[in-house]
């Protein structure tokens, strides 16, 4: 199976291990990711903050490129890129008169990566590929904001308590713990303008994850992973508490369980080193 793939800027930069692990895992599962040729940035939060037309125009160019190459399905790992592309699709469908320059009449099915993996690839296929069960790893899943919200845009049905990433990780043997913060905000792009807000919100997430008994946090969003991983040392200082909570992309753990890809290279890119935890479980 071939599918159109929009990595977005984060996966080429701060979220490189997300791209590397995604590509390795998909290859092993028999799905070829075809990166959209010459894709552009989706505009992220700055696009919609400044101008609605730019916010729709940027993702629309990517949609048109994917369509031109004949694809009907498009996978987007980054939550923000996924949501911005869905917003563009929604606006073009419901208010075409506002964007007369853009000739896009639909036809590309935009999917977030977890939905694609769960529904189009399926847990049974994944189970067959598992070489090493990650038994006994205690994790909380963290979905963040934009894969789910706003549900009228994303189409999510489980927006208050999403469970599809939980199911994938459970299939790998991971002990997925209950907590109430799956879709709470980490502070997002405020990290550059009001880092204190990110420290407050992300610090609370660590506290609650530990309270739930987690040894690590697993996410699907490169902005969430960025904040939770890169700011952890600073937040530890501020809160006077040594957190040491590795923050994984779910695809990294899939790769680890499936014995696919260069896991050590991925883990070396983390600021909070996950290798000690994984060694203590004999996964490395």
């Amino acid at each position: 199976m071939k599918v159109s793939y929009y990595p977005g800027c984060s996966l080429h930069g701060t979220g490189r291990e997300y791209a590397e692990s995604t590509e390795a895992v998909f290859k092993s599962l028999g799905t070829e990711l075809v990166e959209i040729e010459d894709w552009n940035c989706c505009g992220a939060s700055s696009g919609h903050s400044r101008n609605r037309d730019v916010a729709v125009g940027l993702p629309a160019r990517n949609l048109l490129l994917a369509k031109k190459s004949g694809f009907t399905d498009m996978v987007i790992p980054c939550s923000a890129c996924f949501q911005r592309t869905k917003v563009a699709e929604h606006e073009l469908k419901n208010h075409p008169e506002m964007f007369p320059e853009i000739k896009y009449d639909g036809g590309v099915h935009i999917m977030d990566i977890v939905t694609f993996v769960s529904e189009n690839i399926g847990i049974d296929t994944i189970k067959k590929k598992i070489k090493k069960h990650l038994d006994g790893l205690k994790a909380v899943t963290y979905y963040g904001c934009l894969t789910m919200r706003h549900p009228s845009i994303t189409g999510s049905k489980d927006f208050e308590n999403p469970r599809n990433m939980d199911a994938l990780l459970t299939a790998l043997g991971i002990d997925v713990l209950d907590w109430s913060y799956k879709t709470d905000c980490c502070g997002g792009s405020l990290v550059l303008t009001r880092p204190d807000i990110v420290w407050e919100l992300s610090g609370r997430l660590y506290d609650k994850a530990i309270e739930a008994g987690a040894e690590c946090i697993v996410t699907l969003c490169p902005l969430c992973q960025g904040n939770l991983d890169q700011q952890q040392a600073e937040i530890s200082k501020k809160n006077n508490r040594k957190y040491n909570l590795p923050v994984f992309y779910f695809t990294e753990l899939m790769g680890l369980a499936m014995g696919e890809g260069d896991v050590n290279t991925w883990f070396k890119r983390h600021l909070v080193d996950p290798t000690a935890l994984l060694k203590s479980k004999k996964f490395l």
């Binding site: 701060t14 940035c41 400044r50 320059e101 904001c145 502070g187 550059l192």
Partner: protein
């Protein structure tokens, strides 16, 4: 007390008097709620409804939005009050607030609002209006950040992080300001770590279609 009772009586009476402009009561209770038309609203309220497409006039102040908002503790005006103040035409206070810049567009509020108001879209309109009307912005560096970010896309088609952050830092506080409050050291150290981890590149990736990107910015920038 007397005055308040008098007021209520007056309202009820006028409800019965003016059937055309008043919501009819099907339950048998006297209804004194006026059905507002767009033209009856304060100009500021009308502008926001038009530009955001969100009917903020449906808000009944249940506060569900503010109760679920993760950032209220840092805001100067809570989200439900932003709506009330727009209805009252308090343009200066709303457009000069920090709130409109601190909203992280997490969409928790809009997802839970019983009246289907997407407050995040309303916040976008407020940010844009605050800039075009030339208000002193409540959180100026947020606006500078968004500009630096979009400049980077306009130039390269993708974000060039190091260039964008450098541009933002210089414009937002000047290197001196960042140096003296210690944040330059903190951010610089983190930056070096990220470079070592292979997460930040030193040169921008310029896409082939930058002419099309310029066109998106030019043709679509109406306001």
């Amino acid at each position: 007390m007397v005055n308040a009772t008098e007021e209520i009586k007056k309202e009820t009476a006028s409800a019965e008097d003016n059937k055309a402009g008043i919501a009819g009561s099907t339950s048998g209770f006297p209804v004194s709620m006026k059905v507002y038309k767009l033209k009856d609203l304060k100009p500021f309220s009308r502008e926001i409804i038009k530009s955001s497409g969100e009917n903020i006039n449906n808000c009944y102040q249940c506060k569900k939005c503010s109760n679920g908002c993760p950032i209220t503790y840092a805001m100067d005006i809570q989200p439900h009050l932003i709506i009330k103040m727009i209805q009252l035409g308090m343009e200066k206070e709303v457009l000069g607030s920090k709130t409109i810049w601190l909203c992280a567009a997490c969409e928790t509020c809009g997802t839970r609002c019983p009246n289907e108001i997407k407050l995040a879209d309303m916040m976008d309109s407020l940010r844009q209006m605050a800039e075009t009307k030339g208000y002193v912005l409540g959180q100026k560096n947020a606006s500078i950040f968004h500009k630096s970010f979009l400049d980077s896309i306009e130039k390269y088609g993708r974000v060039y992080e190091i260039g964008m952050i450098r541009d933002f830092t210089i414009k937002a506080s000047g290197l001196f300001g960042k140096f003296f409050d210690g944040s330059l050291m903190r951010d610089g150290k983190l930056g070096i770590k990220l470079i070592k981890k292979g997460k930040l590149g030193f040169s921008p990736h310029k896409i082939k279609g930058t002419a099309q990107i310029k066109e998106i910015f030019k043709k679509l920038k109406r306001g």
